[in-house]
């Protein structure tokens, strides 16, 4: 599989056609890639033919099944949901963590737990007040992690905090990110060529991926401000068909169609809404606001969940079997839409899928 390419290719294949997911890993590799309002720009051509930026970008060609083998050591059995050992409902037990979280507070609880017991020394997170532009954060203790609780709806380049951790020699770290960010971290771990770079050899001990079907352009925040006026925004949420803005002046609603125009173009060609390469994936249940969906994917993830349960930090219950087809359909439809969009754009896909995999998706949807 040919992964060689450089900054010019990155500009041509990812930045110019608006396929950049805003993961943030290419930033801080060099002085030439910079970000403003979640838009990544190459401010000056570096002149190199090959580069780490191309290697780690989640939107440059990726062999999906090769990544399965690299991360999990085997091919996947489930073509839609990827590697998983268990799918559960879970929530934080501590009331202040549950309250701070978007839904069940599971991510905050697990990260605070891992930091608290020294399993990781830093966590790459995303901070930001509700309704405002989020920003990368590097938490070094449970309090700092808790301050990052709550969903963010635009594509913060939070992996910049991974660079910061590496420069400060803070390791091992945990990373919480969108599926694109998870993929970028896995490409960083599995791709050759980063010998002397500050990131080379640094340990990412834990990757928690979020469910994400789209991120919004930062223009969304001006839209929110317009809706909320002077009221303070306490929480932003989305139900399947409504935008919900909780303010100190009451709840504001709008049909989700009003927000569609803000969807980041790159998200229309995302193949992975459930962070298939993370150790754990966490999302909404779209069923019960007090709980999260928790997908346990790797041995590492399984060990953390077991320890957290034993410590009483989280509680779990079985995923309702009748909800599983709903989840599968949503994910499969996302993948199929992506394959169609890429075919329509006429660009060769950044996804390198075997014929068997492609058939499995388009022909069957059961493992």
């Amino acid at each position: 599989m040919n992964l060689s390419g450089g900054p010019d290719d990155l500009v041509r294949k990812v930045l110019q056609p608006e396929q950049c997911a805003g993961c943030g890993l290419c930033l801080d590799l060099c002085p030439y890639l910079q970000v403003v309002e979640e838009k990544v720009v190459m401010i000056h051509p570096c002149g190199l033919k090959e580069g780490d930026c191309y290697r780690v970008c989640p939107r440059t060609p990726t062999d999906w099944e090769d990544m399965d083998r690299s991360v999990f050591g085997a091919a996947r059995a489930d073509h839609v949901l990827g590697h998983h050992r268990e799918i559960l409902f879970a929530r934080a037990t501590a009331p202040e963590i549950a309250a701070a979280g978007q839904y069940g507070g599971v991510v905050s609880a697990l990260i605070a737990f891992a930091l608290g017991r020294g399993e990781v020394r830093g966590a790459v997170l995303t901070a930001g007040a509700p309704g405002e532009m989020p920003r990368p954060a590097l938490a070094e203790n449970p309090e700092e992690a808790l301050a990052c609780a709550g969903s963010k709806y635009s594509a913060a380049p939070s992996l910049r905090a991974l660079h910061e951790a590496a420069r400060r020699g803070l390791e091992p770290v945990a990373v919480v990110g969108r599926p694109c960010q998870v993929l970028a971290v896995r490409k960083l771990e599995t791709r050759p060529g980063l010998e002397a770079h500050h990131l080379a050899g640094r340990r990412v001990a834990l990757v928690i991926g979020l469910f994400c079907f789209w991120a919004l352009d930062p223009a969304f925040y001006a839209f929110l401000r317009g809706k909320a006026g002077d009221a303070r925004i306490l929480k932003v949420d989305f139900s399947p068909d409504r935008l919900l803005v909780h303010t100190d002046g009451g709840l504001l609603e709008a049909p989700v169609d009003e927000v569609r125009a803000f969807v980041r173009p790159a998200c229309r060609e995302c193949f992975d809404p459930t962070s298939e390469f993370a150790d754990l994936a966490v999302g909404s249940t779209e069923y019960d606001e007090a709980w999260n969906t928790l997908v346990v994917r790797s041995a590492r993830g399984e060990a953390l969940v077991r320890a957290a349960r034993e410590a009483g930090v989280i509680e779990v219950k079985p995923y309702p079997p009748e909800r599983l087809p709903v989840l599968r359909t949503a994910v499969l439809n996302k993948k199929l839409r992506t394959l169609e969009a890429q075919a329509a754009r006429g660009e060769s896909s950044h996804l390198q899928l075997s014929e068997g995999y492609r058939r499995a998706l388009t022909g069957r949807d059961q493992p």
Partner: protein
């Protein structure tokens, strides 16, 4: 060459002075009361020297905001009975011309000498204008000194001439006089300062078309004087075969060329010290005796055209006669006739061709061995000095413009920041015209939104240029509403011409402390919002510039940080070096950002070690590279 020679009170003593110092000396000996100037190469040093001596000699000297205002101040002194000198470069004459042409018509009282310095070859100018044409348009007497001695002598004579004619006299110097050094025999300094000024109630200095006739009378008067003027001289045989007509340092080149070629018995040299009006009788006398005339002057064929006209009006007297010079392509520098400066070699070539003699001074083979050893010799591009805040500003602006992504247009003008059009400024600047033109052009572009023009507009101007020329454009931008970002690159000095002060600094040419003006104050009065930032904080500057680019209307960003050369001289420099352990060389992935892209001349590449390096012989200690190194490998230590 130094001020010691200029102030020496020993008439008859020979000292080494530059042409500029000699002009200053001449002004001292003439007993000036008033001196004004706007810094312009190659004559900036004249007022610098005068200002240093003003206190002890009892006269007034100032750096004015621009040449027009400078000339008006000098004119005032003249009206009030004080001898006055006003100094500018050719481009500055363009600024002062409205006033100068008017003064020529209104007349003046005490001697008013206007020193205009041209820059053939544009060593420090964007044009090589020949200001003699404008002197002619202004109906002024134009004097051209050939060397520092004549620069002193003619300056003294010019004051007397100006008083006889009751009009300004133009002293036209070129770089090879201004910046040349030579022995100058000093004259006597006046015993005391100038007398008490007075502008009588009955005096009038009115510019009125009816006085055009007076201008012509003055020129006729000067022409008569020129027939017997010692600076108009002839050197050579009574009946030369070739007559060289020359002025300025061309005289020295011609004299040396005649020696080199051994043509002393065949070539005569007629030197014009008064280039306008022409001493016609003197000229005709010598034109009759020669059969070939070679004009040696720079930059344009001013004498060639005027004397050519004279010849045409006296054909029967002077024929047979053939005229050679630029039109015949005989006198030419490497770029061609009428382009660039001339030198001894140009005159040697021309004379040798006319006289039919060979002229090689050394074997044409000379240098072959060296060229075989060193096949390619890199050129030296001009660029910002090490530590220059403009480099940081241009990198920050380039970044902000790229992030903005709407193809911003960048307009500029004259100053050190003009180098922003070169590699040193990342080729950012797209227009360069006259002082303050960038603001005026931005003002125009900023009104084209009504036609769908949606590119952001950025004008760059320096602090000195801001006061010189930017204000009218800003007023216009408010009155005829426009939309652009003006970036004032405030390095706290007038750098390119030698670090002269300006209104923003709170100190005058005489060293007096005065209330400093500021861009914020001027802009505030015009209702234009101002943001100030330190360009050495590149990341912060990027953010501010990006934010301002997205705004409407006219807004100003002042990037304020002292010129690195001034700071280094005053404070001593922090030591900046690359930690060879932290620099990872080509493995960084930055592709040698510091030396290859950011481009500070002190950032070099140590090929032997494969690491970046700071050249301590060049570095001025600003530390900006340290903030930009992706590995944080550059260390800035304390002063000393």
């Amino acid at each position: 060459m130094s001020i010691l020679g200029v102030r020496l009170d020993e008439p008859g003593r020979s000292v080494l002075l530059t042409g500029n110092e000699a002009v200053a000396r001449g002004a001292l000996e003439a007993g000036i009361g008033y001196a004004s100037s706007y810094p312009g190469s190659p004559s900036a040093e004249v007022l610098g020297v005068l200002a240093e001596l003003a206190g002890e000699r009892g006269f007034y000297a100032e750096w004015s905001v621009n040449e027009k205002v400078a000339l008006e101040g000098a004119a005032a002194a003249s009206f009030a009975g004080l001898r006055a000198i006003c100094v500018m470069k050719a481009d500055g004459l363009n600024v002062a011309l409205d006033t100068l042409t008017a003064l020529s018509e209104s007349g003046t009282k005490a001697g008013l000498v206007v020193v205009v310095s041209d820059d053939p070859g544009g060593h420090s100018s964007v044009k090589e204008e020949d200001s003699r044409y404008l002197g002619k348009v202004a109906h002024l007497v134009i004097l051209e000194p050939a060397d520092p001695q004549e620069a002193r002598d003619m300056t003294v004579a010019a004051f007397g001439l100006s008083e006889q004619l009751r009009a300004p006299v133009m002293l036209r110097c070129v770089t090879r006089v201004c910046h040349a050094g030579g022995n100058v025999v000093l004259g006597a300094l006046p015993p005391g300062p100038a007398g008490r000024p007075h502008f009588g109630r009955q005096e009038r200095y009115i510019t009125f078309v009816a006085f055009h006739g007076l201008q012509e009378q003055r020129l006729a008067q000067a022409k008569a004087m020129g027939e017997n003027w010692p600076f108009n001289a002839y050197l050579g045989p009574p009946e030369p075969e070739i007559l060289v007509i020359t002025a300025g340092p061309g005289f020295l080149y011609a004299r040396e060329a005649v020696e080199v070629l051994g043509l002393g018995d065949r070539v005569g040299i007629l030197k014009l010290g008064m280039s306008w009006p022409l001493p016609e009788k003197f000229l005709l006398r010598h034109l009759k005796s020669a059969s070939k005339v070679l004009f040696v002057e720079e930059v344009e064929p001013f004498h060639e055209e005027n004397v050519g006209y004279l010849v045409a009006c006296h054909l029967e007297e002077v024929l047979p006669l053939a005229l050679y010079g630029k039109k015949s392509r005989h006198v030419a520098g490497p770029q061609g006739p009428g382009l660039g400066e001339i030198d001894v070699d140009a005159v040697v070539r021309a004379l040798a061709a006319l006289a039919g003699v060979p002229h090689e001074t050394r074997s044409s083979d000379y240098g072959r061995e060296a060229r075989e050893l060193v096949k390619k010799m890199p050129e030296r591009e001009l660029g910002f000095c090490a530590g220059c805040p403009h480099r940081a500003s241009f990198w920050a602006l380039k970044t902000a413009i790229a992030l903005d992504g709407r193809e911003a247009v960048v307009l500029g003008d004259i100053g050190c920041y003009t180098l922003g059009l070169t590699r040193s400024g990342y080729f950012l600047m797209q227009t360069v015209h006259a002082m303050g033109s960038g603001v005026g052009i931005a003002d125009g572009l900023g009104k084209l939104g009504r036609f769908g023009f949606d590119q952001p507009v950025i004008a760059l101007v320096g602090d000195s240029t801001f006061y010189h020329a930017a204000v009218p454009a800003l007023i216009n931008a408010r009155y005829n509403p426009s939309r652009f970002l003006l970036v004032v690159m405030d390095n706290r000095t007038t750098a390119m011409t030698g670090h002269q002060p300006h209104p923003g600094l709170g100190v005058t040419a005489l060293g007096e402390k005065v209330p400093a003006l500021s861009v914020e104050e001027v802009a505030g009065a015009l209702g234009i919002p101002v943001t100030v930032h330190d360009p050495y904080d590149v990341r912060g500057t990027v953010e501010v510039a990006y934010r301002l680019l997205r705004q409407d209307g006219v807004r100003i960003l002042v990037l304020r940080r002292e010129c690195a050369l001034v700071a280094a001289r005053r404070e001593g420099k922090p030591r900046v070096y690359v930690d060879p352990e932290r620099c990872v060389g080509d493995a960084c992935g930055c592709h040698r950002f510091c030396s290859r892209v950011f481009g500070c001349p002190a950032s070099i590449w140590d090929a032997a070690r494969g690491r970046a390096k700071v050249d301590e012989a060049v570095c001025n200690g600003c530390g900006v590279c340290a903030t930009l190194c992706p590995q944080g490998a550059i260390v800035v230590e304390g002063v000393g």
